[in-house]
Amino acid sequence: MPEIHQFFQQLINGIALGGMYALIALGYTMVYGIVELINFAHGDVYTLGSYFSLSILALIPLSRYTGGWQLWLIASCVIVLAALLCGIVGVLIERLAYRRLRNAPRLAPLITAIGVSLILENLMQIWKGTSEVPFPQFLPGGLGVPDNVFVVAGVGIHERALIVVVVSILAMLALNLLVFRTKLGTAMRATAQDRDAAQLMGININGTIAWTFFIGAALAGVAGFISGIYYGTTFFLNGYQAGLKAFTAAVLGGIGNITGAMLGGFLIGIVEAMTSQYISDQWTSVVVFSILILILVFRPSGLLGEQVPEKV
């Protein structure tokens, strides 16, 4: 394969990977924006998304003869349900673990977040065991049907990668509409900018913060589903690394900044794909976390962090 084709191939892989990171990064950044908490349990909510999807899929009699529109209907239902369930988990975590610590010193909720993360990881370990769990790859053609590959100018594009990109971009568009075009979005932005003033404008801040956790966790749920489809497998500790990388993406884009999280997610995905192509598979984490350190040292506000018009 010519050099340039390989580059584009990896670029596409990177964008698909980046879409997932971006979806997770959004949850980090929105929660940080509104309560200034790094929610370290967020990566595990992403894993929960794939676990919920698995359990829902187990209820549906899928076979290699299920095809066409039925597959897309099933996929949409699973995405919505997984997102909903993750959202509820997100709200519960906020309600039970973080709310009463809202005015405590910063370290207390941070440690609590790590604790919640460990609880979720252990629960998932009990739920589906310590080994990798196969995820039914029923999209796009049906169960057990090999993935389609389009060839555009000598570069092969897997249909699965395309699905990942399309779903993540749709979710981000929906989020943008919500944040900038609805009453809830306005309330979220107001609460992020000045909690007391927002309250005095008649905004119920507890409700608004709960909705922020819901939306962030629901997006992680969507990411969990598409990661299952993309990789064909899931694992109870998946969210640990993916969460840290998405966190890096959020910091890279400027934590608290929604557009920044999307940009950071795609950049980190591309960096990871390029590293595995041109350096080595085993170096991807090293490179990504080096970026985290460099950003924290040289530009802690991130790429878009200095102007935070859409801080949530």
Partner: protein
Amino acid sequence: MALLELRALCKNFGGLAAVNNLTLDVQAGSIISLIGPNGAGKSTVFNLITGIYAPTGGSIVFEHRTLNGMRPDRVTAAGIARTFQNIRLFSFMSVLENVMVGRNARMHASIADSALRTRRATREDREVEHRARELLDFFGLTSYGSEWARNLPYGMQRRLEIARALASDPRLLLLDEPGAGTNPAEKQALMRLVQSVRERGVTVLLIEHDMHLVMGISDAVHVLDYGEQIACGPPDRVRHDPRVIEAYLGKGA
């Protein structure tokens, strides 16, 4: 019965009585001023009325409803709006959006409504925007509508705070030193604005540091010093009260 009644209101922070035994009536349609030196407890009174602090003792009654311990967003919904001594606009929102947020307490469309863009939500959004533009017009802010609030000149930010507060259609408006940091001419203009707010049917409770500024427009003045009310009554009487002169200028002045 008065619009707002404070009865023996107290607030202690540890051993410090920030507000002690304050009794005060605000009649509907009036402009009442709360004055006093720095640290007299004026802003604490506002924080008590709006539910930011819970009173240690006494009661706050607004239109026959007791507000003690009510959440700030509910107080706003009940019909009280306020501004802040240190401007607290939403800096990264447009001027128009700031006023629209102020309308939040009067909006009824549910989250599902606004997500699905139902008729109800779009009609409400139009109404809110229309109302916000009216207020911008009234405060001479129309030309700044799409600017970020933080980019406004200081005096205009002060006006925007009042416009935002009025967006919730309050019966009572609490103004916390609206003239702080502005020059004398701007201060005079603000006081005229306060009068025109009253003419719109909104009762005003005004905190001011500068006694002379409020004399001309207030129906009654209450003077606070170290959390205690040391004088109250019509401006002319309060101005000549020896305790007030002492509080402001010190003994022997």
